[in-house]
């Protein structure tokens, strides 16, 4: 190879712009956000943890008594103040409460979701309903039940209405979110064909929505079951939660608590199996 005598060289140009360069990894917005969030969380946690342990607190003794109670609960469950049949009835009541509130909640939430999806509704309606629901969601279920138990009196009415409130707010959001995922092309095509809104909802939105509708409703049923127990304990609304509350904070009988926890776990196992089956069905 012959080399030219005078090599032509193109001078490399220094790129324009500020000379100071930030390392590439710090310019990644995600990385910085994750790092900052983690730092804030770690800081808050490290600051809080030492202040949580009160003065003159014997951690060792507490841990020993905790493991003791857990042992009593799981290894020696037996009944003293109630019968198994009563508890079974109470469990049934909690399940019914969860079922009923999910049913009412999903029916009401479906209409709210139609009125607050970006695919069908005007923006002011979407924003209005969604922020109203955010406020309702922000109030814990127990507070709703407590408030309604003053208005309606203690009992099933207050529990159902209170839990339904939260369910409606939750389900409206998730239904509307899954409706938003529907591509606008489908609705535009149907509108171009001259179909009315009701027909669009029946023929395009509902068939598209069924899998996510089912899975979200089922998730809400699980949440409502947990809520039904909590509400029974904290607001005296009956069911297995009330029995749990009575035997743990009135009779201090952890043997009995163990029986109830086993019953609840058995039902939770059934729910888990159903949810697994549901997932494999809807994924097909």
């Amino acid at each position: 190879m012959i080399k030219p005598e005078n090599q032509v060289s193109i001078p490399t140009r220094i790129p324009a712009g500020p000379r100071l360069s930030i390392p590439l990894r710090f310019r990644d917005r995600r990385r910085v956000t994750i790092l900052l969030t983690l730092i804030v969380l770690a800081y808050v946690t490290l600051m809080t943890l030492p202040t949580m342990i009160p003065n003159h607190f014997k951690l060792g003794a507490a841990l020993v008594s905790f493991t003791e109670n857990i042992k009593i609960m799981f290894l020696q469950p037996h009944l003293a103040n109630t019968t198994f049949v009563t508890l079974l009835g109470a469990l049934g009541q909690s399940i019914l409460l969860a079922f009923l509130t999910t049913l009412i909640g999903s029916a009401i939430a479906f209409f709210f979701a139609l009125a607050s999806t970006r695919r069908l509704a005007p923006t002011y309606l979407v924003l209005g309903i969604q922020s109203f629901m955010a406020v309702i969601r922000a109030i814990p279920t127990v507070l709703w039940v407590l408030i309604y138990s003053v208005v309606f009196g203690l009992g099933a009415n207050a529990a159902v209405v209170g839990i339904t409130f939260h369910s409606v707010a939750y389900l409206t959001k998730v239904y509307a979110d899954s409706m938003d995922e529907l591509s606008p092309g489908i609705i535009e095509t149907m509108q171009a064909m001259g179909l009315k809104k009701s027909a669009i909802i029946r023929q395009a939105i509902i068939p598209y929505l069924i899998p996510s509708y089912l899975s979200w409703t089922f998730i809400r049923f699980e949440i409502n079951f947990a809520d039904a127990i909590a509400v029974g304990a904290a607001a005296g609304a009956g069911g297995i939660g009330y029995q749990l509350f009575m035997s743990s904070s009135f009779y201090f009988n952890f043997h009995e608590v163990g029986v109830m926890v086993y019953m609840i776990l058995a039902f939770a196992l059934v729910l888990e199996i159903i949810s697994y089956r549901l997932r494999s069905v809807t994924h097909q």
Binding site: R30, T45, G92, T141, S248
Partner: protein, 266 residues
């Protein structure tokens, strides 16, 4: 042509029949459940009574202004406890999830043990947790922290495990082929890839725990839940309304912040 029309008609009438059947079954289930519970449907129509009562009684009055200090203090404590519980649970459950995920687990039995453990933690009702802990740890913030911690641990372990399993085995195998060790695969391959998903789970759990902290507080006699119960049962509705208002503001602002972080992450 005629048979086509017939077929279409049959299709639609079948569809309509099925829809009617579902509605009838659900309606019957509704009636059955209502009778079983002793729930009267007309109370659904009286929902506005509750709202009206709320507005009438829960409007904070002059007297309730004196409670601001205590409420804000307890609200802040509750928030800190919820965040600390979520963060601690997230750290532990990340380890459990890595060891338990089917794609990374050292032995399949370990995976099943961790799965069962997290399911157990999730399904023991929070009432039972609160009561057992209250009995051993007495009435203080630590009790609320631990109750939230156990619930969150169960939930996040499952969520993280599913996230890791969605990550797939191909990338792990590719890294292993380059000679990376187990720890290197996790630190360099897995964690950066799933960090965004994990972050959004953690933020969701913080939101949830701030809400649940009220319930736990009500049961264990700590934090914002306790003072709500105190004011509510001593008929100081104005102050109780103030508590509700402050909870709403806290939860909504936590939700807004987590939405903002979510947008920055996407």
């Amino acid at each position: 042509m005629n048979s086509d029309v017939q077929q279409i008609n049959r299709f639609f009438s079948k569809k309509r029949f099925r829809l009617t059947l579902i509605i009838v079954i659900l309606g019957m289930a509704y009636v059955g459940a209502s009778i079983g519970l002793g729930f009267q449907t007309h109370s659904l129509l009286n929902v506005q009574d509750g709202i009206a009562w709320l507005i009438q009684n829960f409007i904070p009055n002059e007297a309730s202004k004196g409670y601001w200090n205590e409420i804000l203090q307890q609200l802040f404590r509750t928030f800190l406890v919820a965040v600390a519980a979520t963060t601690c649970a997230a750290i532990v459950s990340l380890f459990l999830a890595i060891v338990g995920a089917k794609t990374l687990t050292p032995a399949i039995t370990v995976s099943w043990v961790i799965r069962a453990f997290s399911s157990l933690l999730r399904n023991i009702p929070i009432v039972a947790w609160a009561m057992i802990l209250l009995f051993s740890f007495k009435q203080n913030d630590l009790t609320g922290f631990l109750a939230l911690f156990f619930m969150t641990l169960g939930f996040l372990t499952r969520a993280f495990m599913e996230t890791i399993e969605d990550f797939g085995t191909e990338k792990v195998q590719a890294l292993q082929a380059t000679g990376a060790t187990y720890l290197q695969v996790i630190a360099q391959g897995l964690l950066p890839e799933i960090a965004v998903a994990l972050m959004s789970w953690i933020l969701y759990m913080i939101e949830n725990n701030v809400r649940d902290a009220t319930l736990v507080g009500l049961l264990t006699g700590t934090g914002i839940g306790f003072i709500f119960n105190l004011y509510f049962k001593s008929l100081r509705y104005g102050a109780a309304g103030l508590v509700v208002l402050s909870v709403i503001i806290l939860v909504v602002s936590v939700e807004l912040i987590s939405n903002l972080i979510g947008r920055l992450l996407s």
